[in-house]
C-alpha cells in the first residue's frame, strides 16, 4: 500500500473475489475488490442490485468468507476462518443493523438489547449497565425499555436495533439499508443518530441505494458488477450540498480516504 496508515485500519480488504456455484453456472459476485477503511470513518457502500454490495457486506461482516483475496478486520486476518471463528469475530468485533430491524417481536426492548451479551462472557450486572448505556446513546426513553419491541414505531425499533449493535462495543458497525423501511423524516433522524455515533468515534459502514442517505456519510464506495467503480470522500458540507460527484479512482487506489477532514 502506498501511504502506510498511522493506525491499523478497521477494514483492509485486498482483491476480494466471491464465486457462487449456482446450478451449472458460476456467479461472480465480486471480481477483485480492494478497500481500506480507517477507524472513525463513516462510509456508504452503494450500487445497484446485483452489483455485489450485499456479498461485500456479508464478507465485511464476517458472515461469509471470500473465495480469494485477503481481508483483515481490525488487524485480524479473517479471510479463511471457519464458522466457529467467524462467529467469535462477529460477537466481539461487528455490530449489525438490518433493514427489517430483526428484533425479537415478543421480547422487551431491554431483552433485545441484552441478547448479544448472551454469547459473550459478560457479568450479569455489567450487562444491564451496558444495555442501559447503549439505549441512552440511541436516545430511547427509559419508559420504553420494558415495552415489547413490536409495540414500538419503526424509528424506535431501529434505534433499539442500533443499541443492540453497540452493546458489545464493536470495532465496526455495519448497517444494511438501515432506513429502507422508514419514512423520510424517521430515516433522517436515524441518519442523525449514525452521524452522532460517528462523531463519537464509531466506525460505520452502511449499505444503501439512496443517494440522499449516502450523501450524509463521509465517503461513498460505489460498486458495479463486482468491481469498485468509484471511491470518493466527501469532506465538508459544501461538497455534500452538491452531492457526491462521481470522482474516478485509479484502479489500484485503495488509499483510505484520508481523514474525514481531508481534502478531496
Amino acid at each position: 500500500m502506498g501511504s502506510a496508515a498511522p493506525v491499523t485500519p478497521v477494514i483492509e480488504a485486498r482483491d476480494l473475489t466471491k464465486v457462487y456455484d449456482g446450478a451449472g453456472a458460476e456467479t461472480h459476485a465480486l471480481r477483485g475488490v480492494s478497500l481500506a477503511i480507517a477507524p472513525g470513518e463513516f462510509t456508504a457502500i452503494m450500487g445497484p442490485s446485483g452489483s455485489g454490495k450485499s456479498t461485500l457486506m456479508h464478507i465485511l461482516g464476517c458472515l461469509d468468507i471470500p473465495t480469494t483475496g485477503t481481508y483483515a478486520l481490525a488487524g485480524q486476518d479473517v479471510s479463511a476462518l471457519d464458522d466457529y471463528e467467524l462467529a467469535e469475530v462477529r460477537r466481539t468485533t461487528v455490530g449489525f443493523v438490518f433493514q427489517a430491524f430483526n428484533l425479537l417481536p415478543r421480547s422487551t426492548v431491554l431483552r433485545n438489547v441484552l441478547m448479544p451479551m448472551l454469547y459473550t462472557r459478560v457479568a450479569r450486572d455489567e450487562r444491564d449497565e451496558r444495555a442501559a448505556a447503549a439505549l441512552r446513546a440511541v436516545g430511547l426513553e427509559e419508559k420504553l425499555w420494558t415495552h415489547r419491541s413490536n409495540e414500538l414505531s419503526g424509528g424506535q425499533m431501529q434505534r433499539v436495533a442500533i443499541a443492540r449493535s453497540l452493546v458489545n462495543d464493536p470495532s465496526l458497525v455495519l448497517a444494511d439499508e438501515p432506513t429502507g423501511n422508514l419514512d423520510t423524516a424517521t430515516g433522517d433522524s436515524v441518519m442523525e443518530l449514525f452521524g452522532s455515533l460517528n462523531a463519537e468515534g464509531r466506525t460505520i459502514v452502511l449499505i444503501t441505494h439512496e443517494p440522499d442517505i449516502a450523501a450524509r456519510t463521509h465517503r461513498i464506495v460505489r460498486l458495479q458488477d463486482g468491481f469498485i467503480v468509484e471511491d470518493a470522500a466527501i469532506a465538508d458540507a459544501h461538497v455534500r450540498q452538491y452531492g457526491a460527484g462521481a470522482i474516478p479512482v485509479a484502479d489500484d487506489a485503495l488509499h483510505p480516504a484520508a481523514a474525514p477532514d481531508g481534502d478531496v
Binding site: H58, G61, L63, D64, D83, Y84, A87, E88, R90, R91, T92, G95, F96, F98, N102, L104, R106, S107, R111, M115, P116, L118, Y119, T120, R121, R164, N168
Partner: protein, 406 residues
C-alpha cells in the same frame, strides 16, 4: 452461553407459545403416565399373586391323587375321583430326610346343624400337623390333638367365616355342639381368618380329626391330599424327586408317566406365575411405550415447526455472534425441557392412575424406583433423540440465508 442464560432463554421461548408447548408436553405426560401406571399395576398384581402363594407357604409340596399320564390305561375322568393315597403313604413320606412336616387330609361335604342355624360346609379331616403346615392360628380354643385323631373324637375346629355363620360374629362357640349326619361334634376351637389364599379356603371349612372324617364323612381310607413342608426351600426339587420315587415304589408303578398321583411344587408354581405376570407387565409397558413414542414424535414435530418459524431469529442470533453449538444447545435445551416437564407430570399422573386403577381392580399399584428411573431415562432420551435433528437443522442454517428468510 452460560447455563443460567440457556435456561432463561429456553423458558422464555417455551412460554412464548404456551398452548403449543402445553400440548406437546401433554403428549409426553400421556406416554410416561401410561408406562408408569401399567408397570405399577403389573408389578402390583404380580406382587399380590406372589404374596398369596407365599402366604400358603412357598416350601410346600402338595401330593394329590390323579389319573396317570394323559393316555395312561384306565385313566379316569378327573383327578379328584382317583383314590390312591393313604395314611400309610403319608407315614412313609414322613421318613424322608428333607421333609419337615406332613399333613394328610381328606375332604368331604356335609350339613352342619347348629342350635340356631344350618350350614353346608366342607369337612377337612386333618392331623395336628395340619395347623403348622397350613400356617393356621386359632382365635380361641385348641386345635385337634393326637388323642382326638387316635380316638375318632367327635370334635371340630371351625373356620372363621363358618363360625360366624353358625354362631354369629360375637359369640365364642367353643364348647357348643353341632350335629352333622351321625356325628355330634363339639366345637373345640375357632381359626383366625386367613383370607382367600392357596387353593382351599379354610375360612368356611370345618376341621375334624382325619380318622373321624374317614369314618363318618368320606367313608374311605383314602386321602384327598398330602401336604408336605420341605425343610430347605433350596432343595424343593430334590424333595419332590424323593417323594415321587417313594410313592411310585409304594404303589408299584415303574413308569412315572403312569403315576396315580401328582405333586405340586409351590416354588415351581411361583416361578411360573412370576414368568406369566412378568410377561404381562412387559406387554402392558410395551403398549404404553407406543404412546410414549408418539409423544416423542410430537416433540420432534413441534421443534421442527419452531425451527422453521424462528429461522430469522436463528439468522439474527448467528449474525450477532452465536455459533452453531450455541444455537443447537438452545433448541436441544427446549426439547429436553419439554420432555422433562412432561416426564415429571407423567410420573405423578401415572402414579395417580395406577393407584386408582389398582383400587378399582382390588390390587395394589407398586411404583418402583426402577420404573421411575426408567421413565426419566426414556424422557431424557426422547428429548435428546427427537430434539437433536431439529437442533442440528437450526444450527446448520446459514446466517445469510436465515436472515433473508421470509
Amino acid at each position: 452461553m452460560r447455563f443460567a442464560d440457556l435456561i432463561s432463554e429456553t423458558l422464555y421461548s417455551l412460554t412464548a407459545n404456551k398452548v403449543r408447548s402445553g400440548l406437546t408436553v401433554l403428549g409426553i405426560v400421556v406416554g410416561i403416565a401410561s408406562v408408569i401406571a401399567m408397570v405399577a399395576i403389573g408389578q402390583g398384581s404380580q406382587a399380590s399373586i406372589e404374596q398369596s402363594i407365599q402366604a400358603a407357604g412357598s416350601n410346600l409340596l402338595t401330593v394329590s391323587p390323579s389319573a396317570g399320564g394323559m393316555s395312561g390305561p384306565g385313566a379316569r375322568a378327573s383327578g379328584a375321583s382317583v383314590e390312591s393315597l393313604t395314611r400309610e403313604d403319608a407315614e412313609a413320606l414322613a421318613g424322608l430326610s428333607l421333609i419337615a412336616g406332613i399333613a394328610p387330609a381328606a375332604q368331604g361335604q356335609g350339613q352342619l346343624v347348629a342350635p340356631e342355624t344350618n350350614a353346608n360346609a366342607q369337612f377337612i379331616g386333618v392331623t395336628p400337623a395340619y395347623a403348622e403346615v397350613s400356617g393356621l392360628t386359632l382365635t380361641s380354643g385348641a386345635f385337634i390333638s393326637e388323642r382326638d385323631d387316635a380316638a375318632n373324637a367327635q370334635v371340630v375346629v371351625l373356620g372363621a367365616t363358618l363360625a360366624a355363620d353358625l354362631f354369629g360374629e360375637d359369640t365364642d362357640p367353643v364348647g357348643a355342639r353341632i350335629r352333622s349326619g351321625n356325628m355330634l361334634l363339639t366345637v373345640v376351637g375357632v381359626l383366625e381368618e386367613k383370607g382367600v389364599s392357596g387353593f382351599t379356603s379354610v375360612d368356611s371349612a370345618a376341621l375334624i380329626p382325619l380318622s373321624t372324617c374317614q369314618r363318618y364323612v368320606t367313608g374311605s381310607e383314602y386321602l384327598s391330599a398330602i401336604t408336605l413342608t420341605v425343610s430347605d426351600e433350596e432343595q424343593m426339587d430334590a424333595a419332590e424327586t424323593s417323594v415321587e420315587g417313594l410313592l411310585l415304589e409304594r404303589h408299584g408303578i415303574a413308569d412315572a408317566d403312569y403315576a396315580d398321583f401328582s405333586i405340586m411344587n409351590m416354588s415351581d408354581l411361583m416361578e411360573t406365575v412370576s414368568t406369566v405376570t412378568g410377561t404381562f407387565t412387559t406387554l402392558l409397558a410395551g403398549i404404553a411405550g407406543i404412546s410414549l413414542l408418539v409423544g416423542g414424535i410430537g416433540i420432534m414435530n413441534m421443534m421442527l415447526t419452531t425451527v422453521t418459524e424462528r429461522t430469522r431469529e436463528i439468522g439474527l442470533r448467528k449474525a450477532i455472534g452465536a455459533d452453531s453449538s450455541a444455537i443447537s444447545a438452545q433448541f436441544l435445551a427446549e426439547s429436553i425441557t419439554l420432555t422433562l416437564i412432561g416426564g415429571a407430570l407423567g410420573i405423578l399422573a401415572g402414579w395417580g392412575i395406577g393407584a386408582l386403577a389398582a383400587n378399582l381392580l382390588g390390587a395394589t399399584a407398586i411404583i418402583t424406583l426402577d420404573s421411575v428411573l426408567l421413565a426419566v431415562g426414556v424422557c431424557a432420551f426422547i428429548g435428546i433423540v427427537f430434539g437433536y435433528y431439529p437442533a442440528r437443522r437450526a444450527a446448520a442454517l446459514s446466517p445469510i440465508e436465515a436472515l433473508r428468510y421470509q
